[in-house]
Symmetry: C2
Subunit: 255 residues, 2 copies
Amino acid sequence: MLKIVLLGGGNVAQHLLEVFSKTPTTTVVQCYNRNLSTIENFQKHTEITNNLEQLKPADVYIIAIKDDAIADFSRSLPLTNKLVVHTSGNVPMLTLADKNRRGVFYPLQSFSKEKEVNFSKIPICIEAENEADLKTLQTLAEAISQHVYTITSEQRKTLHVGAVFVNNFVNQLYQIGSEICEENKIPFEILQPLISETSEKIKTLTPLEAQTGPAKREDTATINSHLKLLKNEDFKDIYKLITKVIIKTHGREKL
Amino acid sequence: MLKIVLLGGGNVAQHLLEVFSKTPTTTVVQCYNRNLSTIENFQKHTEITNNLEQLKPADVYIIAIKDDAIADFSRSLPLTNKLVVHTSGNVPMLTLADKNRRGVFYPLQSFSKEKEVNFSKIPICIEAENEADLKTLQTLAEAISQHVYTITSEQRKTLHVGAVFVNNFVNQLYQIGSEICEENKIPFEILQPLISETSEKIKTLTPLEAQTGPAKREDTATINSHLKLLKNEDFKDIYKLITKVIIKTHGREKL
């Protein structure tokens, strides 16, 4: 049984608490947060504390707090030679204080409080300073997910950038689609099947193969008629820029 | 039984032929294409011809050819007072020659030859000059799809712009994600669950509610570290522009 102490009270901490609590081979022995009231509802799964001096013994200490607070917080821990990991996509492992054995446990998913997640499908990217700790993190990750990857801090950082493109930026394009519909009294749900199909397609085709549309065809007449229709200057700029990049990408392919 | 003549030999014509052929209440009596060899394999479902003078009688003539060829082609048809529709998202109904009764039958999906489509989930947007023809198109659309919408040419055009954002542009962001992964020897499949989750999420949340990430949080440190990491100038430009628009969108929300 792997014993875990969770440090943090946000979305990631909450979702990790839930999944580790229901997994037979893992147990969350304690959760720490500076502000106890934030994690009051964690008590149904584990002990809570706001006193670092009272941290319990555990196999892994998981820091799930804001990126820019990780360094200072890890220094403030009254622990030495323990396995301490963070859950961030963007923070190097060595940012953690070196009085402990350092590692990373990064679940590559965007967590909303509102939406349940199925951890078994979430890729977990792990990293550790030594083989034994990497093994522990692997056991921990495999207990909750079928997709575990060992990657370096540098790779993780680029992966995080990639995730911003395929998640946050894609979602903003959905937002633009919904604003365009709303302005013209069209129900946004009309676009839903196309959205699903677009993300489904690349399970069997590469995005390069899956591309269609006026930009790929370099269909200037359609492109210009679309630009004329768009009133929002930001939407126009995005339309122009991504169209240019699609034309470049597929022009390059033809060479 | 609704009798259909298909005019065209591309992806849309092929997929329509397949779905109408297997639907009990519709039949494709003929398919025309200028170049017969392109539609040779259509023969297992219907008669083929490359001679407009030999077009058969039908309830609906569906033009499924390139946008910019629709006007001229519709004028060249040796038909009068027939129901003639096109399948384009971007071409006004009145672009069709007025010697026939005009309409639109626009399946809102991106068709690749390589990938089968499930028509029952595809929204079909219809439009016609008179009630009786609209009724015919509705019957035709409902025979293959559960999602039929009557919308105007103007609405259809904006819908098509929306579709470009949520389909072609989203797919280009997937492409960028895959290039970023490839450059750093990370398997693109790591991002697949996040891609699915992102498109799934907006079935229950609005894109505005679903947004997460450094841009929404206005987390300048992460944004700058990402920009530093990106080498491709186009990717940098897209990162900056969409980040700006996300910040604006969610800033506006706070007002």
